[in-house]
């Protein structure tokens, strides 16, 4: 203790310097952290609070979510739909990302341009486009008529329509995540495999595919988590029969003014999302998802 005091007395400027070094990052980060706590964490905390206090203090809302069949079906449906959309995005997106990463020149540039265009086009524009395509006066129904197949099946306001729309909207996220991982794969690995006698298919299976797995995990996680909370597209293209969690939240506050129950549903969605991300964080570290 005395030694420390002496040292500080001998070199006062170093102590001031150390204090300033510690204070500067907080001065810089302070406004952002304060704003995030007051204007983001507190509102979310309010949702947590409402979920157990509105209209009275109890866990009844959570009990209802997991025991009333209508609500358990919403949970299961959201989960299954998100899995299907993730799988579809992976299957459709993988070849696109593969060609983008492996081909040089205009093919790659063209694909990247198309992916970027669809990435930046708003959800509502794309949802509207599907409304036209799948509608009763749309091109699909028209093709059915022209080919003499009779009346087209109901595509809009169906599970099919909403799944297709969500897949289309989330596909760019998957492709960009895959592409980011694939671009890092050294082409020499594949050349080495070829020179050791591997056919292209075998080189792909044994070398490229395993090296692209981090991208597969990142892309799948991004798509899955976004899909869990998807709102606009399922409302506009789907049916109330296969409601997703976010539709349930909206319905509860819009039609029933049931804030407590809506909050409990939101908390379940939040916990599910954080759970999935926590598993990822445990194995890979969240920084890699955003990096």
């Amino acid at each position: 203790m005395a030694g420390e005091l002496n040292a500080a007395a001998v070199r006062p400027e170093s102590l001031v310097g150390a204090a300033r070094r510690n204070a500067t990052p907080w001065l810089l980060l302070g406004p952002a952290c304060l704003a995030l706590v007051l204007l983001f964490v507190v509102p979310i905390g309010y949702v947590l609070l409402l979920s157990v206090t509105d209209p009275r203090l109890s866990l009844a809302h959570y009990e209802r979510i997991f025991t009333v069949p209508v609500y358990t079906r919403v949970m299961v449906n959201t989960f299954v739909t998100s899995l299907i959309v993730t799988a579809l995005c992976l299957v459709i997106g993988y070849p696109v990302a593969y060609v983008m990463a492996r081909r040089a020149g205009w093919v790659s540039t063209l694909l990247l341009t198309i992916v970027a265009m669809s990435f930046w086009t708003g959800f509502l524009v794309r949802t509207y486009a599907w409304l036209v395509i799948l509608g009763s006066k749309g091109p699909v129904a028209g093709a059915y008529g022209a080919l003499g197949l009779g009346k087209a099946p109901q595509l809009l306001f169906s599970t099919f329509g909403s799944t297709l729309g969500m897949t289309h909207i989330l596909l760019p996220y998957m492709i960009l995540a895959l592409y980011a991982a694939m671009r890092k794969i050294d082409a020499n690995h594949l050349k080495a495999a070829a020179s050791l006698g591997a056919r292209p298919a075998a080189a792909f299976r044994e070398v490229f595919l395993p090296l692209s797995l981090p991208g597969v995990v990142n892309g799948s996680l991004l798509v899955f988590v976004t899909c869990l909370g998807f709102f606009v597209t399922p409302v506009l293209l789907g049916t109330p029969r296969d409601m997703m969690i976010s539709q349930l939240i909206n319905q509860q506050i819009e039609e029933l003014l049931a804030f407590g129950f809506a909050s409990a549903v939101a908390v379940v969605l939040l916990i599910a999302t954080c759970g999935v991300l926590a598993i990822y964080n445990h194995y890979a570290g969240l920084d890699r998802l955003w990096g």
């Binding site: 810089l28 995030l36 509102p43 949702v47 409402l50």
Partner: protein
């Protein structure tokens, strides 16, 4: 050849539905019929003259600009503090900054509905601006902190040792080098607000209808064909933006 074929199919799946909105915007049909029965410019005239659509457009621009300014004001110093200093609780700070990206938008929307409702800020431009500003923090932070990490601090040391003070160094060396990254961060913040739908739908009320909210309501309630015009204008803006950025990137890689 198979991968290229599949990739082309995938790209067509991405692109074709978006292009459908272009002929739709010139259609004479009152409902969503495709192919259009006839072509005219009537709905363009309607878009550019009706208060009902122009007001949400202006709202969207105003909110996105405000949210962008708010985000940048918070994020630029925060990114400097985060990247250049070591301190306790860094992981927690990172989690806090990323939180708006982790929490599903519909949960944030519900939270703001309750919180801003209490403050009587639902249905106001300010309320949506604040909410969008917070939601844009992670995106802007990722872009700007990445730029900062790539910044060679020797440039600053060189300026300082040549006699420039900290302020002059910041204005004449640090800022110009970081400007492109800052602009990209600001653009991302702007677009994050401009395209945001869920929070707007929940808290926009009657007083702060944004373009995505208006489109959502127009599809849900009335099927107004003007939505095709809006969509076409938005797609054109995206196409233009992406082409410009591709061109700029190609030019910069050729130069280097």
């Amino acid at each position: 050849m198979l991968p290229v074929f599949l990739a082309v199919l995938g790209a067509l799946f991405l692109l074709a539905p978006i292009l459908v909105v272009v002929p739709m915007s010139f259609s004479t049909a009152i409902s969503f019929a495709f192919p259009p029965p006839g072509y005219w410019l009537g709905y363009y005239a309607k878009y550019f003259t009706s208060e009902e659509w122009l007001e949400p457009t202006l709202n969207s621009f105003a909110i996105a600009l405000g949210a962008m300014a708010f985000t940048m004001l918070l994020v630029v110093p925060a990114a400097f503090g985060y990247v250049r200093y070591r301190f306790r609780g860094k992981t927690l700070v990172n989690l806090l900054i990323m939180a708006p990206l982790i929490v599903p938008h519909v949960v944030s929307a519900l939270a703001y509905y309750g919180f801003l409702g209490r403050a009587k800020l639902t249905g106001t431009l300010l309320g949506v601006m604040v909410a969008h500003g917070m939601l844009a923090v992670p995106v802007a932070f990722l872009v700007i902190s990445a730029t900062l990490k790539g910044f060679d601090q020797n440039l600053e040391r060189a300026a300082m040792s040549s006699g420039a003070g900290p302020f002059r160094t910041f204005v004449h060396v640090t800022l110009p080098v970081l400007r492109p990254g800052m602009l990209v961060g600001a653009l991302f913040a702007f677009l994050s607000s401009f395209n945001e739908a869920v929070v707007s739908i929940f808290i926009g009320g009657r007083g702060a209808v944004t373009l995505p909210k208006k489109m959502y309501e127009s599809i849900r309630l009335e099927s107004d064909p003007v939505i095709a015009v809006v969509s076409t204008l938005l797609v054109s803006a995206v196409v233009l933006g992406v082409l410009i950025s591709t061109f700029l990137r190609r030019r910069s890689t050729h130069a280097a």
